[in-house]
Symmetry: C2
Subunit: 330 residues, 2 copies
Amino acid sequence: MADLIDRLPRAPAGERWAGDDAAVVQGEAGPLLLTVDVAVLGVHADPAVVGLDDLGWRAVAGALSDIAAMGGEVRHLLVAVAGPAGVDLDLLYDGVVAAAIHHGAAIVGGDLSAAGQLMVSVTVTGRMGGRDGGLMAPVGRDGARPGHELLVTGPLGASAAGLRLLRAGAGTGGIEGSAGIGPTGEPAVTASGAEASGIEASRAAAILAHRRPVARLAEGALACRAGVSAMMDLSDGLGLDSARLADASRVGVDLKTVPVHPAATAAEALGGGEDYELLMATSDPDALRRAFEDAGFPAPIPIGTCTGDIGIRLLGGKPLPAAGWEHPWG
Amino acid sequence: MADLIDRLPRAPAGERWAGDDAAVVQGEAGPLLLTVDVAVLGVHADPAVVGLDDLGWRAVAGALSDIAAMGGEVRHLLVAVAGPAGVDLDLLYDGVVAAAIHHGAAIVGGDLSAAGQLMVSVTVTGRMGGRDGGLMAPVGRDGARPGHELLVTGPLGASAAGLRLLRAGAGTGGIEGSAGIGPTGEPAVTASGAEASGIEASRAAAILAHRRPVARLAEGALACRAGVSAMMDLSDGLGLDSARLADASRVGVDLKTVPVHPAATAAEALGGGEDYELLMATSDPDALRRAFEDAGFPAPIPIGTCTGDIGIRLLGGKPLPAAGWEHPWG
């Protein structure tokens, strides 16, 4: 960890980050959000097409997305790494640090261990933003009610499309802009030149979405403020995750449409996951739309409604495929 | 995680543990302690001689020990597991849950992932106990001053001795009492029968210390209350860890003696680690001794003093061997 910690800003007065047995940060009254996410090389990132810096970024973004899905603000990260000798930890930490900076989270501690396979465990603490002199309440998955509208923060399938494009070009050098991270840690993936077509631009965006996904923290907090009744991040794909929200809320789902990212297929949009777009349920979609537009975000996309019969799982009038990233452990 | 979560008590009103994107617990003003520890099968636990339940227990105890070393009280655990299909998760969780109950910590969330090697990442949150209407301050490694006495909470080397004894008996069935965990999750390791000699009892204790180490949470809080100037847990062995405390405090160490567990060798006591005894520095060892005795704990064992010359690293007048568990990554 020493290498990682040496790169970080010093702890503010009264706090004590790395270098002792445990980190000490300033606690606050009110809800404390806690989540942990593990990313394993070869499971959550294909080493043939993404770098260790991408693995580091993806591990952090995936964990942060769980805080976004509650409507919270991120505070602190603990980053534990286990892996074989000879792993380029500097490169891994490039991505970890860049993702933390990008999302405004402070890495305050971690662990480093030997292991046969590279694994990154990211713990995040979060807090709720203020409203009316108090704090907002975290948004769970279980508050959707019959008649509530379902919306997502953006088109789906970009990450899965990006992985497909990367694999198609792997080893041929044919993926434009898939290499190279700028000195700020920001990805330098762009379509090449002024003549780049819309297709090329959307493909580049999909590749970026796979390598450097972004947790929708601002959107999650906005949705919370706008009073959504339920929310979750689409980490495993809309098919699986919308059923999870319906199960938790004891409602049915009647999806009318799935917004597909321009580089993605319909199957990727439904089952791809890892886009980290947010799925929201609300009784007042107009208020949600206004909140997003007032803050300069694209309007959330309506995809369907919640129904009173928990047995209803429909997409376009047909049974909703439970597609998505099923855990291989069954 | 579903299996693990199903075994746990329900969250109190106003909190939301597993089952959503992030756990929600009640935050408190004042210092918040955060730590993460990774235990990898084959690195931190020898699968030839300990069970997966022991791995789970050891992962939890090792993480909790970091809170003990700050003088804190444990609050919440997040347990992330990555491993191959077919791993006996039930057995692993037996040890995880038993250790959490034993130490009074609540498991509020986690993650489960596929990986080629079994790995357990344990995150712990902790708080400080109250004193004089306020909260105590966490104890770092960096507060020792020249002239302060160094003490440990108990004799050292038990865990290393236990591992040696387990390996010597592995596959022969010759280790008395090394199998069997009682229905409460408490280890049933005891020397056999009324004729058990002192040697047999100390060997059984060493094996227990290896399989089911205990974080010194009560002792750490007592030491904090008694005003120790620096503290850390001996996770990597006295030789290495005392040098770390000296480095952090910018003092020298002049050790007079190393208290050796009756089943251990001197080398195991100096370099073994994983005993999780606490190393403490204090200007008032009498107050520390009284605090421990008043609370019914064995008196801390004096082992030497801090000196003004940071270059001094002595044991019995000779250079202190920097023995201990050095990280294989160098």
